[in-house]
């Protein structure tokens, strides 16, 4: 029996003013796996961390559910905390009820969706097992693998090869942890240290009683970030959507989608980058292929094919970089280094940034010898100025 501690962070009232923590606490009280529920003003503050540490040692928990802001915001705080508490890294679940719930939904909707999200999170840590592996790469469960070799074909980084024992093995130096192999494995026997198919399946079970139509979104890191941005901007969207973060759209196994449909989920959205722009090289390309195939199967089952749909997000989220053709020497280095395939050479030889695909990472600017590329959000001048300023102080 898992012993989970639940921390509800108020975020200095930025969260609990937007949803009803009392109801949530009351509803969670009955959960057999929860040993304490602790409300803190700011979980990331020294005072907040101290309270959590005290509660954790008092109750002897083996897993922690941090109900707080986005893992992209303060995830490292909780990771450090669990390390300090001796809780396995896989036994931490951060439930993002700030950016993706409290800040985008009406009070009552936020409360009920928050509860669903928390239940999903609890389900994950209850299902999760401590994971002592220190190698951070895809792992293949040989007990279940039947050596079909599809992972070899689909790995965008050629990180998987056949071992002497006939089973596929992952080269940790090449593995980029994109999870495309996980998504493609017909038996779902591959996992990443922080992404396991059976745990996702357990999360889906936590969804009972959710608002109908119940929509689950598998959001790749970039789409997830965009959803967070919506939260920051306070751009409301429907509370029917429940987001599960995945490394890449290519990491979503269709077995998981089957789980969702079997669990009664009304619609599944897979959200990722625009076609050309996957940082994982071809994650969304294989995802689209799998989705198309799955949609055919849905229709065969007399279900509407849109019950599984792809959404591209992150288009033009940031101001795109600009190439000054007067300075450009046409070396093409920018095109080579761009992780999103956003730079293309035009017919007349000019290099141009496709604004929808650019994520303003600045790698092209750093690689551009003649200094022809301007990154509007952080121009060279600003960086130089920062260095001057730092030296002057």
């Amino acid at each position: 029996m898992s012993r989970a501690g639940v921390v509800l962070c108020r975020c200095n009232t930025l969260i609990d003013s937007k949803m009803d923590f009392n109801t949530i606490e009351r509803r969670l009280q009955k959960h057999k796996n929860i040993v304490f529920i602790q409300r803190v003003n700011m979980a990331c503050s020294p005072a907040g961390k101290q309270i959590i540490e005290e509660m954790a040692s008092l109750h002897g928990i083996d897993s922690l559910v941090a109900v707080a802001c986005s893992p992209l915001a303060k995830g490292s705080v909780f990771k450090d905390l669990t390390r300090k508490l001796g809780i396995d890294k896989n036994m931490l679940e951060i439930v993002n009820i700030r950016e993706q719930c409290a800040w985008v939904h009406e009070y009552d909707d936020a409360t009920s969706k928050g509860l669903t999200l928390i239940n999903m999170g609890i389900n994950r840590v209850v299902k999760a097992q401590p994971d002592s592996t220190t190698i951070n790469c895809a792992m293949i469960n040989k007990i279940k693998c039947d050596k079909c070799k599809r992972c070899l074909e689909e790995c965008p980084n050629r990180a998987i090869s056949i071992n002497d024992d006939g089973y596929p093995a992952v080269n940790p130096d090449l593995c980029q942890r994109c999870g495309v192999c996980i998504g493609g494995c017909p038996l779902a026997v591959i996992s990443l240290p922080d992404f396991k198919v059976d745990e996702i399946s357990a999360m889906l079970k936590g969804a009972s009683g959710a608002k109908s139509p119940f929509i689950v979104g598998f959001f790749c890191d970039f789409a997830y970030e965009e959803a967070d941005k919506m939260g920051q901007a306070g751009s409301a969207y429907s509370p029917n959507l429940h987001i599960i973060r995945v490394p890449c759209t290519g990491a979503v196994n269709m077995i998981t989608v089957n789980d969702a449909i079997a669990e009664g989920v009304d619609g599944v959205l897979i959200a990722g980058c625009d076609a050309s722009q996957c940082k994982r090289k071809r994650g969304n390309e294989v995802a689209r292929y799998r989705i198309e195939n799955f949609q055919k199967s849905l229709e065969e089952q007399f279900l509407e094919k849109e019950r599984l749909s792809y959404v591209s997000l992150g288009e033009g989220l940031k101001e795109a970089s600009i190439i000054n053709d007067d300075k450009c020497n046409r070396c093409g280095a920018c095109q080579q280094v761009c992780p999103y395939g956003a730079i293309k050479q035009q017919d007349e030889g000019k290099f141009q940034v496709y604004y929808k695909a650019c994520r303003s990472c600045g790698i092209c600017a750093a690689a551009c010898k003649p200094g022809a590329i301007l990154v509007p959000v952080c121009p060279d001048k600003k960086i130089m100025n920062a260095i001057d300023a730092a030296l002057a102080i």
Binding site: K142, I143, K144, D146
Partner: protein, 590 residues
């Protein structure tokens, strides 16, 4: 393509792969998997190897799953109760010493299976397994075989998929492994072992099934059609003593599909009726137990109705509730999903139209009847030293089903480990038998290259099936037979055995098919000897002699056993005495 390239065209081209192991298990079905797991957990140092004709994840009877465990000793029931029930169901003939030992181990594998992930329905009040009949519990066993296969791998057993065994390795009368070939790679496999356990399936496809059409439905059987009786055949050829083949498994199945029927009749208490809407069992077999009459009677009853002109017969589903129908279809989806497809393909509404039933083609299957190796209850060995048996090939214990076969796997592994621990000298193998087996196994391929003409495995199989059906009591003959018919069948089986040398195979798959029919012929021969010997009718339906319609306890209240004389090739038939351990009337369940 690549498979054809690797196909040997002459003896010199045969690639021989030699493995050495401690404990070899032939057949990675339910029983074999439990034997492997038990051996590995009792003695982790013992090297355990399984060979499997298909793939361990979905091989054998449990390929599609299972909806119930029919032998679970529930609270309040005793081993004696179980023996008495099983004995009465089998018409009073079984090996009580074996049954008692199996009964002692019946529950362990099921509880383990649950722990490993098999969902078993629980009674919401008591927390005990929810029961369906006297000894049945309901499971959701669609994935029970993959779950078991995962455990086998987890325990560190070596699994050789796609390798079919063809004969035992025998040295000084002891079984020291087995030979076979890869059904995909065409290589010859020689596995030397300190102890060997045969855990293959029974024999389907000896008889023609009535669903067979010229182009399709050859395998529309209830029993797994890929179980061809290889385990029996290897034993017969090596001179092992076999028992009770004449107790054939003929049962009432769903008409035109050969689907299981106990799911409906036992699980949901639906009565069997004839076209006059008479409840068959209650009307004609009330004195023999009515709906709970012994299995052979229940198998035979609808066929008798047909013969008397009161067919077709049904199980009456019209009184079932919507929920029951849904639950019943769920059970089918867990065991034989395509039966649900069949009902849909007939557009049948079970509340309007009952399910039609009929007899199936007879099978030799030790999990249901007592056919198989004559066993030693001390260590689950056969009459061949070094050879152990479990599951459908092990004889003497009818009604063991999935649970009993699993328990037998455990018992056979224990016996084998004990045997291995007592072995001191290393295995010394007479290599000439490997050469001889090469000749025998690959002959149909070589004949195809050399002659380009001969007998196709399917042709021979269909000839044998028609012969058995018509002359050895098949379903088209309402399971009836007489001495003359049986002798005719035997004569032609012998002709077919002589024709084996003309078999041709174009590829490795056909080579496998060729050996399946060769093995079936050997089983059929022994079966006919058994049927001829028992000059009585002990189990009408399973064994109906029109020339001896009565039971003759004075002569035949015993086991009929056979053994092939390995010198002369003759089948010797003899009796073995019945030993009663649990007191009481053997025909009464309590």
């Amino acid at each position: 393509m690549s498979q054809k390239q690797s196909m040997p065209k002459s003896k010199g081209e045969i690639e021989v792969i030699i493995y050495e192991t401690d404990f070899l298990i032939i057949g990675a079905g339910n029983a074999g998997c439990f034997a492997a797991i038990e051996a590995k957990r009792k003695s982790p140092d013992v090297k355990v190897t399984l060979i499997e004709k298909a793939h361990i994840d979905r091989s054998g009877c449990l390929a599609a799953g299972m909806d119930a465990i029919n032998t679970y000793i529930k609270k309040g029931k005793t081993i004696d109760d179980f023996v008495k029930w099983s004995r009465s169901q089998a018409g009073g003939l079984l090996r009580e010493d074996l049954v008692i030992k199996i009964a002692e181990n019946l529950n362990q594998p099921i509880e383990e299976w649950e722990e490993w992930g098999l969902p078993i329905k629980k009674d919401s009040e008591t927390g005990e397994y929810a029961h369906r009949g006297k000894w049945d519990i309901v499971i959701q066993g669609e994935s029970m075989k993959p779950i078991l296969a995962e455990k086998v791998r987890e325990f560190g057993c070596q699994v050789l998929n796609k390798v079919v065994a063809t004969n035992y390795l025998v040295t000084d009368g002891k079984v020291v492994g087995a030979m076979g070939f890869g059904v995909k790679d065409g290589k010859m496999y020689v596995i030397k072992a300190k102890a060997t356990c045969v855990a293959t399936g029974g024999a389907a496809g000896l008889y023609k099934n009535y669903t067979n059409d010229a182009t399709n439905s050859h395998h529309q059987l209830w029993y797994c059609p890929f179980n061809n009786g290889a385990g029996y055949a290897m034993g017969i050829r090596a001179g092992a003593e076999m028992t009770t083949f004449e107790m054939r498994w003929c049962a009432t199945r769903t008409k035109d599909f050969n689907g299981p029927i106990d799911t409906i009749s036992v699980g949901y208490g639906t009565p069997m009726i004839n076209h006059k809407e008479e409840k068959i069992m209650q009307k004609r077999y009330a004195d023999l137990g009515g709906e709970t009459a012994p299995r052979f009677l229940r198998a035979n009853a609808p066929m008798e109705e047909w013969l008397e002109g009161r067919g077709p017969c049904y199980v009456d589903t019209r009184g079932m509730s919507d929920q029951d129908i849904k639950d019943m279809k769920t059970d089918y989806l867990n065991e034989r999903p395509s039966y649900v497809l069949f009902l849909a393909a007939r557009g049948q509404d079970l509340k309007e139209e009952p399910i039609e039933i009929y007899g199936n083609d007879p099978y030799i299957v030790g999990g249901h009847t007592a056919s198989g190796y004559w066993m030693n209850s001390e260590d689950w060995s056969t009459t061949l030293p070094g050879l152990f048996a479990c599951g459908d090939v092990a004889g003497g214990v009818p009604n063991k089903f999935v649970g009993g076969c699993a328990a037998e796997g455990i018992l056979a592994a224990r016996g084998a480990l004990e045997y291995i621990s007592k072995l001191d000298e290393p295995i010394d193998i007479d290599e000439s038998q490997i050469e001889a087996e090469k000749d025998r196994v690959y002959a149909p391929l070589f004949r195809m290259y050399a002659e380009g003409d001969g007998v196709k495995p399917l042709e021979m199989e269909e000839r044998m099936q028609r012969l058995m059906d018509e002359y050895a009591g098949g379903v088209h003959q309402f399971f009836r037979m007489n001495e003359e018919q049986l002798k005719y069948a035997l004569k032609h089986i012998k002709i077919l055995q002589n024709q084996v040398k003309y078999l041709v195979a174009e590829d490795i798959f056909e080579l496998m098919s060729a050996h399946e029919v060769i093995d079936r012929l050997d089983v059929a021969e022994v079966l006919i000897h058994h049927l001829i010997f028992r000059k009585e009718t002990r189990w009408p339906g399973w064994q109906t002699r029109t020339d001896y319609p009565e039971k003759n306890d004075a002569e035949y209240d015993c086991f009929v056993n056979t053994k092939k004389n390995t010198e002369t090739g003759e089948i010797e038939v003899f009796k073995r005495e019945y030993k009663q351990i649990v007191p009481g009337d053997r025909l009464k369940p309590n």
